[in-house]
Symmetry: C2
Subunit: 397 residues, 2 copies
């Protein structure tokens, strides 16, 4: 048994593996290949910024998961995963950025070595980093049949363990610290990138628990802080210009600890906002309250969205789209867990210790309001907001 310091107990990893095997059986998958870095980490502990080359984890009918990646990342696996080195395999750099050979040929050889060449193989057709070419090469190499196992593991991650919640609470504390720091420094004339620099510093510096420091981690989405009409476009980042007075800026950010996220968004208005702004704020807050109140075990994800949309409808505010998604461990490019959505048509039943980012942002043509919460579903009653930070539009003038 390798001497590796893990973020979770071996029992917890064993439970996860069992959960995944049960889901595989249900989906008719005999061997599962996952290359979604968050799935890899959740299943094996694997950690590293190596998902820009082909890599993955194989889960066969028995035994431990099998790590497969570039040689130098296989070394990383021996330092972060719980599996024995016998189940950690590397390929040479000849397979990296080559037009002559493809890493999936090496993976196919490995699958044959394990005797799984005739198994029903599940692949994540729509998860990140499984390229169209990777799929094409696997199809040419192996007999299959192949099963689309998109999000199979992601669904297993929905209900969080106590340790996962502990990490998410730390992430939530970091999110609070980030917003407090933003509120201190954000003022007319400050350069946008200076604000982003402080956000990063605060995020990675981390937090404190019973007098003991803990660190922040890389976020799966970079801080977003668009101002004024930029905020109507949801995913702009920052520039190096001074922040103008009499404008609204939202801060879409997440504290992260051991790759677990707890996003929290707030909006700051510099100067005196026009009358429409507090009106929209009040409607948003009422909608958020309604959503949180509907976010309880036994209700559906759709119920949460409907409660929020009902408030908007009552006030004649129109909006389209999702207003939330499950959250937990993640790597770039997305901190969402990519299973259910908080939208009226979603029938997923909420269970205790599911966690999601309730994200009822209101993007107007010339400004945007983001006041959001990361929520945990309780055994009973309304959901628990994981951060403790004033839920309002902040005005500085």
């Amino acid at each position: 048994m390798p001497d590796v310091e893990l973020d979770f107990s071996r029992t917890e990893y064993a439970d996860r593996l069992q959960k995944v095997r049960a889901a595989m059986e249900k989906a008719g998958v005999e061997v599962l290949f996952t290359c979604d870095p968050s799935n890899m980490a959740w299943l094996t502990g694997y950690d590293g910024w190596s998902f820009y080359v082909h890599q993955g984890v194989l889960i066969g009918p028995r035994g431990d998961p099998v790590f497969w990646g570039r040689n130098m990342d296989a070394i990383g696996a021996t330092k972060t995963c719980y599996m024995d080195v016998a189940d950690i395999h590397g390929y040479s750099d000849d397979y990296v950025m080559s037009t002559e050979r493809h890493a999936m040929q090496h993976l196919s050889d490995l699958i044959r070595e394990y005797g799984w060449e005739n198994a029903r193989i599940g692949v994540e057709m729509e998860n990140y980093y499984f390229s169209a070419k990777a799929h094409q090469v696997l199809l040419a190499e192996l007999n299959g049949p192949f099963v689309d196992a998109t999000a199979l593991i992601n669904w297993c991650r929905a209900v969080k363990s106590e340790t996962e919640l502990k990490y998410m609470r730390r992430a939530a504390q970091i999110s609070e610290r980030m917003h407090r720091r933003i509120l201190e420094i954000f003022e007319p004339g400050v350069l946008k990138n200076e604000v982003a620099a402080e956000i990063y510093r605060t995020a990675i510096w981390g937090g404190e628990e019973n007098g003991v420091r803990f660190g922040g981690d890389v976020s799966a989405i970079c801080p977003l802080l668009p101002t004024g009409d930029e905020a109507a476009a949801a995913h702009l980042t920052w520039n190096d210009k001074p922040v103008p007075n009499n404008s609204g800026t939202f801060f879409e950010i997440s504290g992260v600890h051991r790759h677990y996220h707890a996003p929290l968004c707030r909006t700051i208005w510099l100067g005196t906002p026009p009358n429409s702004v507090p009106r929209i704020e009040a409607i948003a807050l009422e909608g958020i309250e309604a959503g949180i109140s509907a976010a309880r075990a036994g209700n559906t994800a759709g119920d949460v969205a409907s409660a929020f949309y009902a408030v908007l409808g009552r006030h004649g505010v129109s909006r389209e789209g999702r207003c939330g998604y499950p959250i937990g461990i993640s790597y770039p490019p997305d901190w969402g867990e990519r299973t259910f959505s908080i939208r009226p048509t979603d029938t997923t039943v909420l269970e205790p210790n599911m966690t999601f980012h309730f994200m009822p942002a209101l993007w107007m043509p010339d400004w945007g309001l983001e006041i959001t919460e990361t929520l945990r579903i309780r055994e009973s009653g309304a959901a628990e907001p994981m951060s403790d930070y004033p839920r309002k539009l902040f005005v500085k003038n």
Copy 2:
């Protein structure tokens, strides 16, 4: 013509489009779909952390490029791209995280609207964010024939313009500032994440040029700073533990400006290094000098690698793999340009104003040495290191 502040002149964007159309013709591609965010940005100016949902740019036989993405990101496109709004198209949130419909169905409708349904369509089979599922849906929707256009645009980006080089020099200045700051604060007992926090702060704070500040941008790879035997695994990030004395740590980082990168890696030894360390350092430095000297117009990428490996061979040091890759504009997960490689077998002929990260790291079993340079190929003579920072192993004791 939309009133958008662009990072490059419209003439430069027009030149790029022309270059891509020439490459398309050579590859027999009539309509090209790119979803690699760095290709999208280079071609159109599009900027935003939105590549976690399906999006892309279509280049048809004539006219401007066509932006296609989620509705809220289409708004982002109107604020960052040079094209007219008539060439910017959005899809509704119904297509996001849906098992009933796929965004590529929407894209197929758009392709039909433009009258391109019978065109030879190029898709980036092996670039980022083109999922196996996306390809499958496109194949089912359209007649094709489809052509693998992986890296077609990436290759067009190899030779940098004056403005691109200006941005890269700024990025290179940021890289220097980051290393100077690291050297100041790195000492036994400091928490790893505190160091990472300062690296981020310095990177985003940016630099100064003729008394005018410029900002740093998000890096396509997060800072890597493994210590001791962790450094044998190339892609570990950081933890929240104190840095031990008598250990080596490498810092694989890049300053970034307007999404242009100029990576620069250095290694710091805390305490007194064992004799093997300065010996390896001397070999590495000799190898780097040899590589830089071979990095000149008319030589091949392979010549650079061979010059480096010849030095290693003379000293009996073994190493496998690539020792560099082209560099420029990029978004996560990789700052490399993903075309040629600095390795002995690569026959790519180097041209003036090509830029690459010469990355001859030496990963030992129990430590790692990274001393690297971002190089620009000159009209004649050895390549220009874009940063100006002491090229050596730093020892603090």
